[in-house]
């Protein structure tokens, strides 16, 4: 049997369509050829992952034993012919309800100015919902902008695009990506959101979810209690209270992350929101492409940061972030193989700029960040920068998620450079401290990256901000 025939037979097998002599031929091939069995295992893994992914939400809500027992009892009852009677009674009840009530749409939505969406429904023709309405099976994609969701159950949500969601049931929403805030009244307790990484069940609360492709999904609780369960690895369940935020690591263990209330909208904007921060992103297959861009004259140069959570393996160190030196390739300098800072998810570096010549703090005009490595996505970058005005509290200035190198060849390497600026010329004014927090990048071990240089440009604030 040649490779093409084998592949065809295996796909037919897992579709339950292989029979007759073709089945016998495949069976013989699998008995005789270890390579055929390896191909079989590959198909098995694909089939299993596809099935588990799509039906996972039911399987992850591990079947309570009482339900299994009831199912068995029901099966016995069915065998006795009683189920038919039960079905008739149930059918009559449903028909009575249909006849006496015009159902309210399960979910309606409104859009903010400038929002672009597309909608599709599982029901076709006359059965398809009309207008800004979602029924179970409907899928809403937000290309850009913000949408307000109003469930008939009383659940309300504000979701920022780009986003993609499918209503599975009145109380179950599948969110493939998007940043969403929900408010769930007590009568709708049990409302569940299923994302690629987690299953979240609300216990009467207000919470936010960030779900982005290639990043680990985060849940932020602002009020009440939610139950979260990781869909991967250990599939650990945890109850989160107000003021807590978590993401599930690749092994399924919950990890803390700062609560980011300002990341979520709880009202629909009344005008188009244009981002003030302008982010310029560049990438290259040459890992030393931006080696000459590291600055030794920016505001951070020479400052010693307060750091937490960095990987110090291979002599990597966060002090190399602001030394004005890009650094050489891996193992090119004896005794210092990793010439850069090696992040972990949640690693922080906090720089105290001081209050400046006029004690008004500093104006930050731009921020430049360079990451690179010899392969496997470590040249991507994902981070958040927060600024603290003189005498004030930290606020998030911007979040960077830039990961163009996930498909790079293993031995190719690559670099990314991100520059933040503001249309007004000043990103932030009157600042005394700046804090950077590394986030998750795709395709690398531990979702980490190698940060070569971090430059903050600006000067002392001259007038009261």
């Amino acid at each position: 049997m040649n490779h093409s025939e084998l592949e065809h037979h295996l796909q037919e097998l897992f579709d339950g369509r292989l029979e007759g002599q073709a089945f016998e031929n495949l069976q013989q091939e699998l008995r005789d050829d270890p390579a055929a069995r390896a191909a079989y295992r590959e198909h098995l893994h694909l089939h299993h992952a596809l099935e588990f992914r799509t039906k996972g939400v039911d399987r992850l809500n591990v079947v309570p034993m009482e339900r299994v027992v009831k199912r068995r009892e029901l099966r016995t009852m069915r065998n006795a012919g009683l189920a038919a009677v039960a079905l008739l009674v149930l059918g009559a009840l449903v028909m009575a309800l249909v006849a006496s009530h015009q159902p309210k749409p399960t979910l309606t939505f409104n859009t903010a100015p400038g929002t672009e969406t597309s909608i599709s429904h599982s029901s076709k023709g006359e059965d398809a919902p009309e207008g800004m309405v979602l029924e179970p099976g409907s899928r809403l994609k937000i290309i850009t902008g913000t949408v307000e969701l109003e469930f008939s159950s009383g659940v309300r949500g504000i979701i920022r695009g780009p986003a993609d969601l499918t209503l599975q049931r009145e109380d179950l929403l599948e969110l493939t990506n998007g940043t969403v805030w929900f408010e769930v009244p007590s009568k709708a307790v049990g409302f569940t959101v299923n994302t690629p990484d987690l299953v979240l069940t609300d216990l009467g609360t207000g919470f936010g979810i960030i779900s982005e492709p290639n990043f680990l999904d985060e849940v932020h609780v602002f009020d009440g209690v939610v139950e979260v369960r990781s869909r991967h690895g250990l599939k650990k369940k945890e109850l989160l209270k107000a003021g807590q935020a978590r993401y599930a690591g690749p092994a399924g263990r919950w990890k803390e992350t700062p609560v980011r209330r300002d990341h979520f909208l709880d009202e629909l904007p009344t005008k188009i929101i244009e981002p003030a921060v302008v982010s310029t992103e560049e990438s290259s297959g040459n890992q030393l492409a931006y080696a000459d861009d590291a600055s030794d004259s920016d505001l951070l140069h020479g400052l010693t940061p307060v750091t937490t959570g960095w990987n110090l393996g291979g002599k990597a160190h966060p002090k190399e972030l602001t030394d004005g030196i890009h650094g050489a390739k891996y193992e090119q300098v004896l005794g210092d193989p990793v010439q850069g800072a090696w992040t972990t998810v949640g690693a922080t570096a906090e720089y105290h700029l001081g209050t400046g010549a006029k004690e008004l703090g500093y104006d930050i005009t731009s921020i430049q960040s360079i990451a690179d490595w010899n392969g496997a996505g470590f040249g991507n970058q994902a981070w958040t920068v927060e600024v603290k005005p003189v005498g004030g509290s930290y606020r998030i200035l911007h979040t960077v998620n830039y990961h163009p190198l996930t498909s790079q060849p293993l031995d190719g390497g690559g670099a990314t450079k991100v520059t933040l600026a503001d249309k007004s010329g000043v990103l932030a004014s009157g600042i005394e401290s700046v804090k950077f927090t590394a986030s998750h990048v795709a395709g690398s071990v531990g979702n980490s990256f190698v940060w070569r240089e971090l430059d903050v440009f600006g000067g002392p604030t001259k007038r009261t901000p």
């Binding site: 796909q11 992952a49 992914r53 991967h232 010899n374």
Partner: protein, 178 residues
């Protein structure tokens, strides 16, 4: 002796944590056959009934797979009596044993799968979603989208081949360390 409340909760948690592995193991013993979900449920029930016999600290996965194996063999015998064609017991056992011996990479596989699905054109993604999410027949989808069912089967073959290749590439990336 009955487990106390904490032990019961831990046991349920163990069952929950091994659903994916059990599902994969059951499919490996009965590829393309109906009833995988039923066998998994039956296995869960038997695991619960036998909870007092499990020794804490021993290999739960191996114990659960052994129980699942008996359930699958019972199911296979039933289908065999109904005339279904299936691999002989020796080959089924060999395939399942080889699958069980492989490292568990489901977390990475599902992550890689999501990534690869994200690269598919919308029409191809819709076809995969229909095939694995809907309980309806492919013929119904063919009628909906106005394509011959054989053409959809060819598309599915091509998409799955591409997904398999893409996942293999992603897993290689995940294994690479700086």
């Amino acid at each position: 002796m009955e487990l106390d409340a904490t032990q019961q909760a831990e046991f349920v948690s163990q069952i929950a944590n091994h659903q994916a592995a059990l599902h994969a193991y059951i499919i490996s013993l009965m590829p393309g056959m109906d009833g995988v979900d039923d066998v998994l449920q039956e296995t869960n029930l038997v695991l619960w009934e036998k909870r007092r016999t499990f020794e804490p600290g021993s290999n739960f996965r191996a114990w659960a797979c052994a129980i699942a194996r008996f359930r699958v063999m019972g199911h296979r015998r039933k289908l065999g009596r109904l005339g279904f064609q299936m691999f002989d017991d020796d080959l089924a056992e060999q395939l399942a044993a080889e699958c069980e011996a492989e490292p568990e990479e489901l977390t990475d596989r599902i992550r890689a799968l999501e990534h690869c699905l994200g690269r598919l054109p919308e029409k191809e993604r819709a076809l995969i979603d229909f095939r694995y999410f809907s309980d309806s027949q492919l013929e119904e989808y063919a009628a909906q989208c106005g394509r011959p069912v054989n053409s959809l089967r060819v598309s599915l073959f091509r998409i799955r081949t591409a997904l398999k290749k893409c996942i293999t590439g992603e897993l290689t990336l995940y294994r690479n360390r700086p």
